[in-house]
Amino acid sequence: MWQMAENDHAVVQAILSGDRDAYRTLVVRHSQSLFRLAFRITGNEADAEEVVQEAFLHGYQKLDSFQSRSSFGTWIYRIAVRCALDRMDQRKMGVAGGVAEEIDAQRESAHTADQSAGPERLLLSREIGSMQEAAMHSLTPIERTAFVLRHMENLTTGEIGSALGVAPNAAKQAVFRAVQKLRRRLADLRENP
């Protein structure tokens, strides 16, 4: 990992010296992990792909402000978080609509976790997955992002605040609100499926 970070710094220097194609190395190296992150935050495959592209575009444009104190992976990860948050805000406002119809079908396929499991287990897994996704939809974009970063990405409150560009206490409050809403929503869904 350390060696990779070292390599990333060398690649960044090469890009800033005019070797545009060197950026390809960074894109190839970090695309998969950014996609997983973006998918967890947006809950949607098409949006996640858009977020990955936007993050790398923004990353390239801001590369001269990248400081070697952090790793490129961490830096681009934060950019992707912001892009995902913007994407969800846009979707909430209806700007990036048009994919809503596809979402359910994609989610359906996304939650077929273990194809080798028996049909009953598969059904249960799908049911839990769709309940969870329905509950996640009750969150605001910032609550959802903060929760994903805390619960699924295991970031600390400070790191979440830094990624979202808010004070740590605001990040903590967003996680609290998300947990409370999710629990209420899941309880409702269990009672009235």
Binding site: G18, S31, R107, A170
Partner: protein
């Protein structure tokens, strides 16, 4: 026995709390049950499995963005020049903002106190940034003093606190960024703490109640923050320190 709050239970679940919560859970059945229920709910929430991407996914991403990327030129190239102009533009905008903040601060100061600030030639020559920082610390100090003595039962007394906090927030963030840029961690840390207090004051849902004020004073240690700001204030060259803050403090103490 005082039970744990939901926030404390959630913090404990994510490992961001003190040992006293763990101890409480060992001796309090009710909280232990609530914590177990929370654990069951959160434990059931799994990260959604992302659809598989082909091994060539990275290449596909590169293919979709590569045409939009102009090459950087070695030192002095177009991107660097653009960056330089951006920085010059940013610096000009900062000077305007600083001047605006200075004028606003001055007006607020005159409105709050009949004492008129005086200056001399040496003070006028001080760097503008230090003057702005000093002004910001003065205003923050006054706000914290007013918070310390706030009468939560009086809406007229409490409302200006939220307004002033909202007004101070952007300036505080600019000062904090500057502190990080000049690598002054102690200043940045205090301004970071101040940022949280200001954000809470500005965004307290339902306005500032007595309990919200007490919570802010205890959880965010606003007295400690006030002390730190006073210490910092001594590091910044005096700008028109005419005893305004001191006289207001004395006014409250009396």
């Amino acid at each position: 026995m005082k039970h744990l709050s939901k926030e404390q239970l959630i913090e404990h679940y994510y490992g961001e709390d003190g040992a006293d919560v763990k101890h409480h859970l060992e001796i309090c059945r009710e909280c232990a049950d609530a914590y177990a229920a929370l654990g069951r709910d959160l434990g059931a929430l799994k990260a959604p499995e992302a659809p598989d991407r082909a091994s060539l996914y990275g290449e596909q991403v590169w293919g979709s963005i590569s045409n939009s990327l102009p090459a950087y030129r070695a030192r002095g190239g177009s991107w660097q020049r653009a960056g330089l102009w951006r920085k010059i533009g940013y610096a000009a905008a900062c000077v305007l903002l600083i001047a605006g903040a200075f004028l606003t601060g001055g007006r607020w100061e005159r409105k709050q106190s009949p004492i008129t600030a005086t200056g001399d030639d040496a003070q006028i020559k001080q760097p503008v940034v230090l003057v702005v920082l000093g002004d910001h610390l003065d205003r923050s100090e006054r706000l914290l003093i007013e918070l310390k003595h706030a009468d939560a039962s009086s809406a007229a007394a409490v409302f200006p606190l939220s307004e002033e906090a909202r007004d101070l927030l952007p300036a505080n963030r600019r000062c904090r960024q500057s502190a990080m840029q000049i690598d002054d961690p102690s200043l940045a840390s205090v301004l970071d703490d101040l940022d949280r207090v200001l954000a809470e004051l500005a965004n307290e849902p339902g306005g500032l109640s007595a309990s919200a004020i007490t919570r802010l004073q205890t959880e965010m240690n606003t007295d400690g923050l006030l002390f730190e700001i006073r210490v910092l204030r001594t590091r910044v060259p005096d700008k028109n320190r005419s005893g305004i803050v001191q006289s207001r403090e004395e006014h409250y103490e009396n």
